[in-house]
Assembly symmetry: D2
Homo-oligomer: 281 residues x 4
């Protein structure tokens, strides 16, 4: 069954809204007019910094916290995350802020641990076609964010989502994070067409990751706002107290002040576009 | 001299504003906070339809009319434009509406004819590195819109502009119109990163062409608006009375009603972003 | 550590030769002047056909048999292999022909099963950056063939190999199988440059897969031979009794007669290039 | 008419053989089993060096001399060739060696000058879709080598050739010179599939340019030989007395000794493949 046929089948279902329970009294809602802001550092580096940043991000308007405990790295010699210790720090940030947390799952054997600690499970670009992982995620009852593969066509991306949906889990969020092209001035090429096209083909919520999508700090804010306008249901942004000292992805991370301004801009733009912005602070 | 050094040099000059004289009393301004809307069919197909459409587009808010008289076509067997007859129709539309016109120059031997009839000369993607053409355009005193090549890096694009600038013509407008990638669901991949990056590297105005940039009618409006938000100084949109019957690019052309709505959306969004929108009607 | 530094480090070690034990008295050797021919269908479809084909392939000169038991498929609705039953058929073909077998491992939980039945473990393109899988393969003592990812740079490919090497398994074979580009006339673009470049950067053996690399039956033979000339240590070719009826990849599979001719051509060309061709029949 | 239909139409004509007259008594033949070697520096830099190199290249077995008089350069500040002076040096080399010469035409206004001095006119990648130029070349009676555009599909390339053929000049030689992909370890990605595919789709001769196709000196020889094996009718190779001092493309130029070895290897391989190698020395 190809993506067009899938799209037709999906026409018959309602546009998906996903509830992310989290520790607070009311769940965070994703899709159906809500605009959702996910923020945090590439990796959880240590407890103190992460908790401080988490509180600051909540103040700035973030709805969900991100932070990698298991990091896929191109080289086996790079920092690959704190693992279980990172998961525990996420849980602490979650109870301190009341915000849900999202983190990446790379190894199927970590599924139980990640499920127990996080509110949304992220599948990274490198694992978009890790079908064993996708099928397992189809058997749980938790939101899954599926990032588009570096060179995955839109059809392949929707069919990867279908692995999770078909196995029974309908809480899938798509995330456009830039594709690989010939251009080297930017880390990736954020495919703004794909955001608009997937919104018309699929009933799943679609996010934009302007940090990986551009790879350059000064492009993060304009590209995030362009994503909202093109129809995205939310953005996921990398923020770090001291980007220059980040253990990974510093050159594409905003500092907290830059994030403040972006959050404010997004709130205004969401208002202009008649989108719903949850105020959790 | 590479693009980075060029950018540094350009820092010292003022951000360019370009006056497009046209037949009306006041010129259309491009750049420096103005947001400019160019619209029209891919090709000028016949006098009657073009004039009718031109008046309709002016009513909808277009600032400049587009229309191809000489069309570059992948196959030698496709319709390649009306040539001189098309130029004359453009001139008539110009005097009827009071709007300036832009049209493409492909052959250096048509330079005089195109200069005499149009207000802005467009260099298409296939000719972005036709250096003989670029150098000649550097010797005239008219605005030139330089479309990005299908697989040109941002550096190559800025260096192509430099051919015109260096030869003495400083009225260069850049236009991002989508790059060629592996994705086949869309005709091209509009590089939204490039819009934001070029705005920070160069003082030249940057436009977005969401029609070629996506190739699909339903994506034109969201992508046009995303372009404005990312910092573009204007958009160029293909519009046709009856897209299904267009001699070229029908599947990516808006009909006049769709264009009405897009123009209105862009005006509101320009207001939100504190951009200046000339009211010519 | 980047690929260049890795290459330097690898300069100090001997050019790798890999012994594939198999059921026959003498092992099949890979690398260091040997040219090795791997052949078989995309997927093991049923016992009878596979055994018949395996004997035919041995007659034609194949050194190693391929056949997928677990197939990664873009859509969850496509045929995904016979699983354990497929592995058993491979083992039977192995004992009937005396040839070693290679098959793909997709799910880390199948590692023991695949190790017990196959002689070489293949990591497919989609899993080139499945680091959990790579690390586990670094802990076993069996040859691993690492296919290049669809859009992996040469540096990323060598660093993925480093995950296996660093964990202790030095029996890594690289396989160029075509990259994803804008060209749609062929399924992928076989990167012949990469074959020659990796031979100069790394001491690992490099194979070429002209079946996936081109996706078109009529290109398989010229591209396989070009691979040998560019320096490849072997080729892996898809062959099916009745390509038109294959459950997957029929349009890129040779029939046994075409394979006969290719094998003969490769033997002659290997002779011309002073490469060693094992005669196992 | 698309490329497939063109291919069918071309089936009815004979496989093209092109005679390149040159100053010698017998013409150089291209296509139909002949394998032809074109060599020379990227640009003609000065008379003395060019003549010395030309004689050396003839000794090594080159059939045709290359050398740019007009050079397309990404930046307007780079060396762009000697122009008419370069053409005159080519003519002198031609009479001294008896070999025909090929040089690039960039500007339609230089057509007469280039036609008068060269034996084959080269259309570079950047001008593959410069239709005004192609149509003019269709009106002359001289061989034209059409290089594939940096991101041109095979269909677009064949349709560009059709512009020349349809206008009446049937002496078209195609040249694969690498396409632009995401890979940055090599300058371009030589599309070996395209060589084999175009040989089956078109009756025009196809060359390979391993210098631009790889961009790295150590890859030139293996890639040139792979091109022969994949079916190419010839190769075009950049050679320079002192590559490190070349005004352009030094990093991809062979020195004369390397070229000697390549020429010898190609002669042997051509013999193995039953191709005809003209001995002009």
């Amino acid at each position: 069954m190809n993506a067009c046929k899938l799209a037709l089948r999906q026409e018959k279902i309602h546009r998906t809204i996903i509830e992310v329970p989290g520790p607070a009294s009311a769940p965070v809602l994703i899709g159906q007019g809500y605009f959702t802001l996910i923020a945090g550092p590439c990796a959880v580096e240590n407890r103190e910094d992460y908790l401080e940043l988490a509180l600051r991000l909540k103040q700035s308007g973030a709805h969900i916290l991100r932070g990698g405990a298991y990091k896929p790295r191109t080289s086996p010699y790079s920092f690959s995350g704190l693992g279980m210790e990172g998961l525990k720090i996420l849980v602490e940030a979650r109870s301190v802020t009341g915000l849900p947390v999202i983190t990446e799952l790379m190894d199927i054997r970590d599924l139980d641990a990640v499920c127990c600690h996080a509110d949304i499970i992220q599948v990274g670009s490198r694992n978009m076609q890790n079908y064993a992982l996708l099928k397992e995620l189809g058997r749980i009852n938790m939101p899954v964010m599926l990032k588009r593969g570096l060179s995955a066509t839109i059809e392949e991306w929707l069919l990867a989502a279908e692995y999770v949906l078909q196995a029974g889990n309908r809480k899938v969020i798509l995330c456009e994070r830039g594709i690989r092209t010939f251009e080297t001035a930017t880390r990736n090429t954020l495919d703004i067409n794909a955001v608009a096209l997937v919104k018309s083909l699929s009933h799943l919520p679609v996010f934009v990751d302007p940090s990986h999508g551009s790879g350059l700090r000064r492009l993060v804010s304009p590209v995030a706002k362009a994503g909202l306008i093109a129809g995205a249901d939310g953005v996921m942004v990398e923020v770090h107290q001291h980007p220059a000292e980040a253990l990974c992805d510093g050159q594409q991370s905003l500092d907290p002040d830059e994030f403040d301004r972006l959050s404010l801009d997004l709130q205004k733009l969401a208002g202009h576009e008649k989108r719903i912005w949850l105020d959790l602070y």
